[in-house]
Amino acid sequence: MKANGESVSTTLACSVMLAVSFLAVACASVGGAWAQAYPAKPIRLVLPYSPGGIIDYVGRTLAQNLAGPLGQQVIAENRPGAGGITGTDAVARSAPDGYTIVLMDPAIVINPTLQPSMPYDLFKQLTTVSVVSSSPLVVVVAPELPVKSMDDLVRYGKANPGKLNFASAGIGTTPNLAGELLKLRAGIDATHIPYKSIGQSYPDLMSNKVQFAFSSIAGALPFTMDNRVRAIATTGDTRNPVYPDLPTIVETGLAGFEVDLWLGVFAPAGTPPDVVARLNAAITIALKDPELGKAFAKVGAMPRGTSSNDGAAFVRAEHAKWKKVIEDAKIKLD
């Protein structure tokens, strides 16, 4: 009933043409639901960022690999806006029938703490289907800087207070919070310089205008391969195959310093448990494909694949972890 009311108001609000297409979609979904078991028609996987990032790459690879185990096409669709909120919100509001799902990164647990108001409630309106991948960040430093390890970086920071800058992909992003976490844990001072994407910060990193950054592996790879910036550590719980020689930050002595740029699939809350289970099973099969593993590895991501319950517990833990960092570092949007 609720879905009906919504589609009526949408019809009124939109132009005739849009209404026709909405009705067509609505009819198709009703017909499909009666005809056969889930999934009876293609599934939309919403990617809430612009093309080109890790979510886009992992999402499209996953969508391709899901077609087999599900017996239906999975269509990846970029729905960028407001740091992932727009696309996630669209899925949170869509019908809980398993035909609209979203792939999101840690921003999904950071936004509720950071944003003064959210259009949806993560824990009430979304259900975790599976956490599909893990990828650590890599600490990169300007080549001019006399810093070859995490210890060096901390020592340099303590010896030169007020001199360090660190780049991020914007306030409240994982690279920003990882930098703040380092400041808290190591007791050093550094100024946060936000960029629109971490890739944009590399020219300034190469010329030492910015001294260090927690970068995605995909973003760092072209620059670390020929030492135009220096990679000194990764943030995973184990060493990353892309950088087998680099220690993890935990190895260097900061216990528990793990930052994971994980990606998870979410469905609207109220999606029937058997539909969630069907999706979860298909994702688990897809993630076991060695070809997919190789494709993920190229951007530094490792296939993971949790159960729906474990995924939900992990998402809650990540929410609590970043909430504490945001509060301790007094990060506020003002």
């Binding site: 609000a13 093309p51 080109g52 790459y57 727009t86 310089i193 020219p203 995909a218 072209p222 951007v299």
Partner: protein, 499 residues
């Protein structure tokens, strides 16, 4: 002749049957998405990305580059024919290009656009072949302070760009800056001027703004004229530009190509400035008689040349540094990385066949595009004969569908409606929209770089005077301001505008 043998190697790669086919596919697709509203090169490349994983990396990149250039060619078609610039760079083309179309000279406008793009593309490719590594070094010289000074220079030039009243031009630039402020602030994450609307969280959508102000507002003005005979002249005139047209354009094309090639190298928005800068320069230095804004063919030639040259040289930072100038380039980097190629200085030495193959494919793609586009001119021009009462319905539908498909966001349609009314008022008041567009596009980048520079310098403004490049742009801006402000010179400027 090292360069010569390298170019030969490149053509050897690019002329293989497989790569020729992908080059053609890319060019055709690019032209199509350039003409169609809403779907741009970024979306197209993103959709093709998974397919490209199965291709040879050279073929994949040649195809993506073809889409990118093709969209530049296609984008000017809609700008000229129906005054809808789909991207910032074709805004300037529509100024004189659409006026030409209304005077029945759509054919020459489209022809000159294609030919000057072709010429500029060839020169830019040659420039990349000869000087990619030193060009890449220019890009590395630009930090936040240098970009800020460049943007200041660009904004001051926006005032010079306008016709008539300077006060109106300054007013429009400031309005553009204000509209550009809406959305999430990059430094603090706070949403400014969004009035609680989720749809404005990323600011005002550029395509909605430009389609409203150029496309729809003009429809409104045309509809209110009593005899809605046609917004566009009935007679087609020549389909292709005459030799006299071409000859008039040669100096403009050369200037546009030079400016575009240099600005394109800067990854932080240089290519965006190219067509605006070229147009401004033409208005100042082109030989009389000048009737810019009323259908001067040089007003099409110069920005189109600059635009295409800039599009081409913006591949330099991508190929030699691994720094993307725009979202399409970011996708190309992703495609290369999947194939295990890390874009950077080593590509030229480690994978010469890739680098030179792509450079050679630039010539081939440009040749294909000009062969593809010149015969299409005849077809496009026939569209102009459609009675206006049918045309305007199509234009409105075109703008609405185009705006909606960018983000599937209904809020963008509200933005479209709002700016249609706004644009109509501007037209009625004789306020030119070009300075507003430039303010809107440059304002956010200027603010971003200003604040980043000051963060790095810990608030010390001396950072803007710490490098010769930054000082140079600021001096140029100051000089332009003096020229505009000095009353005697201003009188001369107004006289020049009357011509």
């Amino acid at each position: 002749m090292d360069v010569f043998s390298n170019i030969l190697l490149g053509f050897g790669v690019a002329l293989s049957p497989q790569n020729l086919v992908y080059c053609l596919i890319g060019s055709v697709l690019g032209t199509m998405v350039g003409v169609l509203p809403g779907i741009g090169p970024v979306t197209t490349v993103a959709l093709l990305l998974p397919i490209s994983f199965t291709l040879d990396p050279i073929s994949a990149l040649i195809m993506m580059a073809g889409i990118y250039y093709g969209a530049q060619y296609g984008g000017s078609t809609t700008a000229i024919l129906i005054n809808i610039p789909g991207e910032p760079s074709s805004v300037v083309t529509s100024l004189d290009g659409h006026q030409m179309a209304r005077q029945g000279r759509a054919g020459p406008a489209l022809g000159v656009a294609a030919l000057s793009s072709f010429f500029a593309g060839c020169v830019a490719a040659l420039l990349i072949a000869v000087g990619a590594p030193p060009l890449a070094q220019i890009a590395l010289q630009f930090g936040p302070a240098e970009y800020f000074s460049l943007m200041v220079c660009g904004l001051v030039a926006a005032v010079v760009l306008a016709h008539g009243s300077i006060v109106k031009a300054i007013g429009m630039v400031i309005l553009g800056l204000i509209f550009g402020l809406a959305g999430s602030d990059i430094n603090s994450g706070v949403r400014r001027f969004t009035y609680g609307l989720q749809g404005l969280a990323d600011g005002v959508e550029f395509v909605a703004l430009s389609m409203a102000i150029y496309g729809l507002a003009e429809v409104a003005v045309n509809l209110e004229k009593k005899e809605v005979k046609s917004g566009i002249a009935q007679s087609i005139g020549r389909v292709l530009p005459s030799w006299a047209d071409v000859r008039t354009c040669i100096p403009s094309v050369l200037r546009g190509t030079t400016l575009g090639s240099l600005l394109g190298v800067l990854p932080g928005g240089g290519a965006l400035l190219a067509s605006f800068a070229a147009y401004t320069l033409e208005k100042k230095v082109a030989r009389a008689p000048r009737n810019f804004g009323q259908g001067d063919i040089r007003g099409v030639a110069a920005p189109e040349a600059a635009n295409n040259a800039g599009a081409q040289t913006s591949m330099v930072p991508m190929l030699t540094l691994g720094i993307p100038s725009n979202p399409t380039m970011a996708l190309m980097i992703a495609a290369l990385m999947v194939h295990g190629v890390s874009p950077g200085p080593r590509v030229m030495t480690d994978r010469p066949e890739l680098f030179w193959g792509i450079v050679a494919s630039m010539w081939i793609a440009n040749l294909m595009l000009v062969i593809l586009n010149l015969p299409l001119v005849g077809l496009w021009v026939r569209l102009v004969r459609i009675p206006y009462r049918m045309m305007f319905v199509a234009i409105v539908a075109f703008c609405c569908v185009g705006t909606f498909t960018i983000n599937s966001n209904t809020a963008d349609l509200a933005v479209l409606a709002f700016f249609t009314v706004f644009g109509y008022i501007c037209l009625k008041l004789g306020c030119e929209p070009a300075p507003l567009i430039l303010g809107f596009v440059l304002g956010p980048m200027m603010e971003e770089n200003l604040r980043r520079a000051l963060l790095i310098s810990r608030g010390d403004p001396a950072i803007f005077l710490s490098s010769p490049i930054s000082i140079g742009f600021l001096l140029a801006a100051a000089f332009l301001l003096i020229v505009v402000a000095a009353p005697t010179i201003r009188r001369r400027r107004d006289e020049a505008m009357v011509e």
